[in-house]
């Protein structure tokens, strides 16, 4: 086998088709999108070179700046929620529920397999104020609080989006972290307990350091997914009211495919890419430094 795979031509024959497909559907569009950042036009009349105009427009476009800020805010809040809640659930599965955790894990994971659009519709009804009060507003009314029009302001809509997306995704991160926690050898945990570590001390000094690699992967995964949020917000309130909860990815989609402004849309796509790469690199660098220090 080593002899066959050592032959570069045979390896090329095996890898070539897949590589061609990858280049065709990934590399070429990425390069083309990058080229489009300095162009304006359409497939009908062709594209013209406009230099840095599209980049300059990004800095003077208040909607883009707001979308960038909203994306970062959403990613930070959501990632914090996903990782902290996911980690707490994983600890619950491993150390409290143990073998009984299968049912709870299945239930918590269930929203992950539901379509985003269905979940968005469900939450728009849950938080509805018209034509009938939804369950959330009915509950508020029952305890003497005035019903809230959750979708009328950006801040209230943001709360609904965060609750919805946490409910939708936290099961996935809990399972991901659960897989990391069960890898910690029982002997290590038992030894720590014999040495007197328990509860928070056990988690702080044994569980957390030993699950750090999977925790970092989870943070990177979570931040990157959150920075690219699209479908759930589109289906819930289309980034409204106005553009108050429009993330960069949705604004990029609207700019490119609704307003047919491919050049400026490509700049927005590039900003998202740079944002994701920066976050990932920063986390990698910080994790490397931590490991070296330890």
């Amino acid at each position: 086998m080593r002899h066959v795979l050592g032959n570069k031509k045979v390896a090329a024959a095996f890898l070539g088709p897949a590589l061609l497909v990858y280049i065709g559907v990934m590399v070429v569009p990425v390069i083309w999108s990058f080229v489009l950042t300095v162009m304006n036009g359409s497939p009908v009349l062709g594209f013209d070179w406009v230099g840095w105009d599209n980049f300059a427009r990004f800095f003077r476009d208040p909607t883009a700046r707001h979308a960038l800020w909203f994306t970062i805010k959403y990613a930070l809040v959501m990632s914090l929620g996903q990782v902290v809640l996911g980690y707490l659930m994983a600890i619950l599965y491993v150390f409290v529920l143990k073998k009984l955790s299968t049912f709870v894990r299945t239930m918590v994971f269930f929203p992950v397999v539901l379509p985003s659009v269905a979940i968005s519709l469900l939450f728009s009804r849950l938080f509805a104020v018209a034509p009938q009060l939804g369950p959330v507003n009915s509950l508020l009314q029952a305890i003497g609080i005035e019903p809230v029009d959750w979708f009328a302001t950006g801040s209230a809509a943001f709360v609904v989006i965060v609750i919805m997306d946490l409910w939708r995704t936290v099961g996935f991160y809990a399972v991901l972290l659960f897989a990391g926690l069960v890898e910690i050898p029982d002997e290590v945990i038992d030894s720590a307990r014999v040495d007197g570590a328990g509860g928070l001390r056990l988690i702080r000094h044994i569980v957390l350091p030993m699950s750090l690699p999977v925790l970092l992967s989870t943070i990177i995964f979570s931040l990157n997914n959150c920075l690219k949020v699209f479908d759930s917000i589109l289906a819930l309130n289309n980034g409204g009211p106005g553009t108050a909860t429009t993330p960069l990815n949705l604004y990029m989609f609207q700019t490119s495919f609704l307003y047919s402004n491919y050049g400026y849309g490509s700049v927005l796509a590039l900003v998202i890419t740079v944002l994701c790469l920066t976050v990932t690199l920063l986390i990698f660098r910080s994790s490397r430094r931590d490991l070296t220090e330890s």
């Binding site: 032959n7 031509k9 045979v10 024959a13 070539g16 088709p17 061609l20 359409s42 497939p43 009908v44 009349l45 427009r57 728009s124 509805a128 104020v129 018209a130 034509p131 029009d149 959750w150 979708f151 009328a152 302001t153 950006g154 309130n237 289309n238 980034g239 409204g240 009211p241 106005g242 553009t243 108050a244 609207q254 495919f257 609704l258 307003y259 047919s260």
Partner: protein, 439 residues
């Protein structure tokens, strides 16, 4: 052995490359409308139509025509339908245009078919007026529809007016009678009526925050009634700005109504079906809407006796008139200039001769074509509005008619925040003016 492998690989690679090239070339070799016979007069081999997935009424009408009065045209040029969700439609049209693969009739966006629009500049858009005049049936387009298209496209005629909508306020006659209200002639009367209804615990106005134009059109109506029928043309021509105080005043009027609680509570997330249901069931008294709503109103399950229609009232001292009929001709239906030929002409003539009658008979809605064949049993409200259309002396466009796509979208998306006070009237108009200036 090594040489054999090498030569085998080379042959294989060449073969794979050739196959890929052949497939790519085949994929790029044109559309299904290409005529293999090469007859330049009849390039289209089918009457291919691309409309939005939401336009079920249009699809139904074309099917009726193909099976009915246009059967002969259909035999010569079979009708085929392709539908795409409206959110993806313009993207699809641009891609098809880039490949010279547009169908015979397609729902292109307005911005692409203006004189300097991308499709018009690329020679893809047929001048419908010229074609219908050649066929001797241009006079089958109603004067009102001609007027709308003339204003909208500055004298060009790039769209077939399959729809004709006037706009105004549908109201619940029973609720008005119960509270002793007359049909309002002025905005002051309208507000008075709304306050009376609100005091009686009835929602005066319903609209859909999710379908924002049902709110933003109010701004347009205030502008037209206050500043005159050409107010939005002055904005297009750069003689006025939406941020000018007299334009901001229109948005402010609407916001004041919203803050006074005259619109349905929680409007931001109300969809069009819910809004209509509120009107039909008498939970809300009034709704600004298009007359294509008549298709829903004429549904036997709705009590049409309860519903009436009145034009948007005048503003006391305003330059506009209550008689200026707000009108539109629906989404554009563009005919491909490159695929137009005698067989498409037969279809076009048949549509001009029959669309108006069948639209009224089957769906109870107006078209931009005259009703050639008398239609019996027209619903009373439909007949009443038809009389208003016939009596109209002038038409005005709708608020977003002369906007680009981004301004149109922003006008709609920001309408609910304007109404609820989440966005000020100045901010609302500034966003739209910035969109217009950005181009």
């Amino acid at each position: 052995m090594a040489n054999q492998v090498r030569s085998g690989l080379s042959r294989g690679a060449v073969l794979a490359l050739s196959a890929t090239l052949a497939l790519t070339l085949a994929g790029c070799s044109g559309d299904s409308n290409d005529n293999p016979s090469g007859d330049p007069g009849n390039r289209a081999t089918e009457f291919s139509v691309l409309i939005t997935a939401e336009n079920s009424a249009g699809a139904d009408m074309l099917q009726r025509l193909a099976e009915g009065p246009c059967a002969e045209a259909n035999a010569a040029l079979p009708y085929t339908l392709d539908q795409t969700p409206s959110a993806q439609m313009q993207q699809k049209i641009l891609l098809l245009a880039g490949q010279d693969a547009l169908p015979v009739m397609f729902a292109a966006g307005q911005q692409f078919i203006y004189k300097d629009g991308q499709l018009a500049a690329a020679g893809q858009v047929l001048d419908v007026k010229d074609a219908l005049t050649d066929l001797g049936v241009f006079d089958l387009i109603t004067p009102a529809a001609q007027s709308v298209v003339d204003q909208l496209y500055d004298g060009e005629f790039p769209t077939l007016p399959l729809q004709f909508n006037t706009e105004g306020i549908f109201y619940n006659k029973t609720l008005f009678a119960q509270h002793g209200l007359a049909v309002p002639e002025t905005v002051d009367d309208l507000l008075e009526a709304a306050r009376t209804l609100k005091a009686a615990g009835i929602t005066p106005f319903v609209a859909s925050g999710k379908t924002g134009w049902s709110i933003s059109r109010w701004v347009g109506e205030f502008i037209f009634r206050d500043l005159g029928a050409d107010a939005m043309m002055r904005v297009r021509d750069g003689q006025a700005k939406l941020t000018d105080p007299e334009y901001v005043r229109a948005a402010q009027r609407l916001q004041d109504m919203g803050l006074e609680g005259l619109f349905i509570n929680g409007i931001t997330n109300v969809d069009m079906d819910t809004a209509l249901n509120q009107l039909f069931t008498g939970q809300a008294a009034m709704m600004y809407n298009l007359t294509n709503t008549l298709q829903r109103i004429n549904d036997p399950s709705v009590n049409t006796q309860d519903l009436g229609f009145f034009p948007f009232p005048a503003i006391t001292g305003g330059k506009g008139s209550i008689d200026d009929l707000p009108a539109n001709v629906g989404s554009p239906n563009v005919l491909s200039a490159k695929l137009y030929g005698p067989n498409v002409g037969v279809w076009l003539r048949c549509m001009a001769e029959n669309y108006g009658s069948i639209s009224m008979e089957a769906q109870g809605v107006y078209s931009g074509f005259k009703i050639n064949t008398p239609v019996p049993n027209i619903a009373p409200l439909t007949a009443e509005i038809q009389e208003r259309i016939d009596a109209a002396t002038s038409t005005v466009l709708w608020f977003e008619a002369l906007f680009n796509q981004k301004a149109t979208t922003d006008a709609s998306n920001n309408a609910a925040p304007l109404l609820t006070g989440a966005m000020s009237a100045e901010e609302y108009m500034s966003v739209l003016q910035a969109d217009l200036e950005e181009g």
